[in-house]
């Protein structure tokens, strides 16, 4: 029998998870489907910043106000996902004078608490900053953990009766005689099995992929995915977020996230949101700009490069503008009046910081169409999870291990102190997890060696699973994707050591993956 849900939400990023939770809290029985792992798209591939709003205060005041308000909401409802680092906006010699002049007033107008910081105080707090910085403001930026945020939203949604399925790609829609979507056709991306899910309404929160989802319903929705590339430095370079006091540009932000700092972000319009390759030019541009914030940063060790695609929406059919000029504000598209598909909605644009507001506005409209009167409660009701931030540092895990007396604490991943019991627990919760899924739950392979040592150890823990070789090779490929663009210095030597082990001693390239069981599995 085909299961039926009041609403099917497509996309397991922060927005989709937020929509699912909001609907569930209003009594709408929803299902979320995600083609990969939850948070494996743009939400899991951003710089980790909870915006204060100051970034957009000049270019897009509406967005800035939204960010400022949601920043306050998330501090209240998701304290466990935040590290309240604070942030600085600093004017370097390369930044325009007039931007600095207008900044404070613009922040005040948008309701953002920006406070001028004496330079002595700034350099005492962040000694590595460029001494040529001539002005600085403190703003309520923070670091935000996307996977925990998504998990908390999904957990809350489940508590209210919703379901969320991962590795389910939408491959088509069944339409009834008046053009409405009656069912969503899904394909399990690991087993290849297909199934159909009946639906009252469909909400596409597929982000940069929303155009592809809309096309399956015969609707044209032009997205303009804006690829943003970032570099992971191998340590926390600053303790607070640092932004350039300039119109948004490349290499203009440094975010401390757990044990590392993220240097971002480029912006390049791409055709295909799956094209998240980081180019050498982007890396060079990021490092050159990073040096303006922290002199010598380009000589520091870079662990990895990665990119995400902003879910930017093309408002006109033709746009030659670089994507940063397109509004960051979000758009809720009702495909009924626009395209004649009355029960399809797309929520596009926006930022992770405003995910909850986007979800609220989407749920408001959907509920109105369904005749559901209940109002939104997500701004007040805290998400499940700890009541205070517990930013991750390596000593924390060490303390946990030692508190247990060491026990069966064999380290599978020495860089991130991931133990055998931690992986067993993760595999128990998700028996068909890929090594990359395990990485998102445990930080496996995220340290300096980027999986060189833990990959076969973790693959061996999959036991008799038929896709064991695929899991191993898939993780090696995934890790390589991030180290290849930054292959120089110590990280190249590390990569070469790894290559020597895998090709020289283990002959991993000779593994035979062409078995019927594994052929359709996801790499």
């Amino acid at each position: 029998m085909t299961p039926t849900f009041d609403a099917v939400v497509i996309g397991g990023g922060a927005t989709g998870a937020g929509v699912l939770r909001d609907l569930a809290m209003r009594g709408v029985r929803g299902l979320l489907v995600e083609r990969g792992d939850f948070g494996s798209g743009t939400s899991g591939r951003y710089h980790g910043l909870l915006h204060s709003g100051a970034r957009y205060v000049v270019s897009d005041p509406g967005s800035a106000r939204d960010c400022a308000a949601e920043n306050g909401v998330l501090r209240r409802i998701a304290p466990g996902c935040l590290e309240l680092t604070g942030g600085y906006f600093v004017a370097t010699s390369a930044d325009p004078e007039e931007y600095l002049d207008g900044f404070a007033a613009a922040c005040a107008a948008a309701g953002i608490a920006a406070e001028r910081v004496p330079l002595g105080e700034l350099f005492a707090a962040e000694p590595l900053l460029n001494r040529e910085i001539r002005a600085a403001y403190h703003v309520p930026d923070a670091a935000m953990e996307p996977w925990e945020l998504i998990d908390a939203n999904l957990e809350s949604a489940r508590e209210h009766g919703a379901e969320a399925w991962r590795y389910q790609a939408v491959v088509g829609f069944a339409r009834d005689s008046d053009g409405q979507i009656s069912a969503v056709e899904l394909e399990d991306r690991r087993s290849g099995e297909r199934r159909s899910v009946g639906c009252g309404t469909v909400i596409s929160a597929a982000g940069a992929w929303a155009g592809q989802v809309a096309a399956l319903a015969g609707v044209e929705l032009k997205m303009s995915p804006g690829k943003g590339s970032m570099l992971i430095m191998n340590r926390r370079v600053t303790n607070a977020v640092v932004n350039r006091l300039a119109p948004p540009g490349d290499g203009d932000i440094l975010v401390p996230v757990h044990t590392v700092s993220i240097l971002g972000t480029t912006d390049i319009t791409v055709e295909d949101p799956d094209d998240a390759r980081v180019t050498r030019d982007e890396v060079a541009a990021l490092l050159a700009d990073g040096d303006r914030l922290i002199p010598g940063l380009s000589g520091a060790r870079v662990l990895r490069a990665y990119a995400g695609c902003r879910p930017l929406y093309e408002e006109s059919d033709v746009s030659d503008e670089p994507s940063r000029e397109i509004s960051r504000a979000h758009h809720l598209i009702a495909h009924g009046p626009r395209d004649g598909v009355a029960n399809l909605w797309s929520i596009v644009g926006g930022k992770l910081t405003t995910y909850r507001l986007m979800a609220q506005q989407t749920a408001d409209a959907v509920c109105a169409s369904l005749g559901v009167a209940a109002g939104c409660r997500t701004a007040m009701e805290p998400l499940p999870g700890p009541a205070a931030a517990r930013p991750y540092w390596l000593g924390m895990r060490l303390a946990d291990i030692e508190a247990d007396g060491g026990g069966d604490a064999d380290l599978v991943c020495e860089c991130e102190l991931v133990t055998r019991p931690m992986l067993h627990a993760a595999l128990e919760a998700q028996p068909d997890a890929s090594l990359d899924d395990l990485r998102r739950t445990t930080r496996l392979g995220m340290g300096p060696c980027q999986g060189a040592f833990c990959t076969p150890r973790a693959a061996a823990m999959l036991g008799d699973r038929d896709d064991g070789q695929r899991a191993l090779l898939g993780f090696l490929h995934e890790r390589f994707r991030g180290t290849r663009p930054i292959a120089w210095g110590d990280q190249l030597a590390e990569l070469w050591l790894e290559t020597g082990i895998y090709r020289g001693s283990l002959a991993v390239e000779t593994l035979n993956v062409e078995t019927p069981e594994a052929r359709d599995a996801d790499v």
């Binding site: 292959a487 120089w488 210095g489 020289g504 002959a507």
Partner: protein, 414 residues
């Protein structure tokens, strides 16, 4: 007057072999190693690649000295046998497939005796048992057996199974490494109990047993003989992640030969300064624990390895530098360094220093470059790294001995 006839920089297979050869030829030689070389992370076997084919390849180091591989290898194996670390296989043997720790198949021809049973042809009906050790995270018997069972392995075993043995006392240790296990096996009492437990863990039937490469370090020969006898079956070690116990045995055997031949050795300190006079190197300085050591010599041998060994270093802008003497490095352009597939041949493998027929780089008259620093080889893809190291080391020894400049210095000095 120089203190040494020759200073060898680098203590991997190439550097140690050159040091031994020079010392055996009567030179006063000093080998300075910055850190553990490829021996400590490689599998311990000797890979020479297809010498004949590579010798015909323009620009490959073998094109200059491929003919030296056979004699160099013979000398190398004799040295190791004399050090109590016998190897099996000869120059010219056709490689066969041996199983790896993840269940891959690696071509090999010359292996230490403890790994050599993996090279033997499989008799009809003969099965392979992959043996794991409980609590040792770098052996993956179940995964390896499963993957091997799926391999297209012509003339391979009739069946692949796996078993895990519990060893005495190790539950008291956390994060057991190959090195700790090898040291435990060196202890005769522990070993006797451990081998009895391994034997009890074996399934019925007759097997050839592949087990982790942890059978002793200092007393390896004794451990291996006892294991073979107790288990009553052909056994072979399978190397896994570093630290490589077979590689450490190899390193120790070569170091012993170097010292026995009268060579001097310093390990753990890199070159921090080079003294030059026109186109000659006069001395190098290494940074010791408490002082800087000045090593003056008439000849220098550079054996610092490639990118993994630290002999070459790349910067973000795509420059690759040779780190001791600043020699010119030949490499593909940065855009072509790496291809999409991490397990495919990488163009960057060929990066290195180009030398003349006498192993001399451009610009310096008394430096010889040997080993994986040499341009034009792809030591991973061609599996030729050990052959290049041994043959270039031997060629360097011949070239320097033929000059015999240092022997007169030696006579004057003594």
């Amino acid at each position: 007057m120089p203190t040494y006839d020759a200073v060898v920089i680098g203590a991997g297979l190439a550097g140690l072999s050159a040091g031994i050869g020079l010392a055996e030829a009567g030179a006063r030689v000093f080998v300075a190693g910055k850190g553990m070389g490829a021996t400590h992370w490689a599998h311990g076997g000797v890979d020479v690649g297809d010498v004949e084919a590579l010798s015909r390849r323009r620009g490959h180091p073998y094109a200059r000295f491929g003919d030296a591989v056979g004699p160099a290898l013979t000398a190398h194996l004799a040295r190791l046998a004399a050090a109590g670390l016998p190897y099996r296989g000869s120059p010219g043997d056709t490689p066969r497939l041996v199983p790896t720790a993840v269940g891959g198949l690696r071509p090999a021809a010359i292996l230490p005796e403890a790994q050599a049973a993996g090279l033997q042809p499989w008799a009809g009906g003969e099965g392979l048992l992959m043996l794991g050790i409980d609590r040792f995270k770098d052996v993956w018997a179940q995964m390896a057996a499963r993957n091997l069972a799926r391999q297209r392995w012509p003339d391979g075993p009739a069946e692949v199974r796996w078993a895990v043995a519990e060893l005495p006392w190790v539950e008291r240790l956390h994060n057991l490494t190959a090195l700790e296990l090898a040291r435990l096996f060196d202890d005769p009492d522990w070993r006797a109990r451990a081998l009895a437990q391994v034997r009890a863990a074996l399934p019925d039937g007759t097997w050839r047993i592949g087990l982790p490469a942890v059978l002793g370090l200092a007393r390896h020969a004794e451990v291996f003989a006892e294991a073979r006898e107790t288990l009553g079956a052909p056994i072979f070690e399978i190397p896994s992640l570093p630290p490589s116990v077979p590689g450490i045995r190899l390193f120790e055997a070569l170091r012993e030969r170097l010292l026995a031949a009268g060579g001097r050795f310093q390990f753990g300190f890199g070159v921090v300064k080079v003294e030059r006079s026109a186109d000659h190197v006069v001395a190098v300085h290494t940074q010791g624990a408490s002082r800087t050591l000045r090593l003056a010599a008439s000849e220098f041998v550079l054996a610092t390895g490639g990118i993994a060994g630290g002999g070459l270093r790349a910067t973000a802008d795509g420059m690759i530098s040779e780190r001791v003497f600043g020699l010119a490095v030949e490499a593909p352009p940065q855009a072509e360094w790496l291809v999409d597939d991490p397990l495919a041949e990488q163009p960057l493998e060929s990066a290195g220093v180009r030398v003349d027929a006498r192993l001399r780089p451009a610009g310096v008259r008394n430096v010889r470059v040997i080993g994986s620093m040499l341009a034009g080889q792809r030591y991973l893809s061609e599996r030729c790294g050990d052959g290049v190291a041994l043959a270039s080391a031997q060629r360097a020894v011949q070239l320097l001995s033929a000059r015999s400049a240092w022997s007169s210095v030696r006579n004057v000095a003594s």
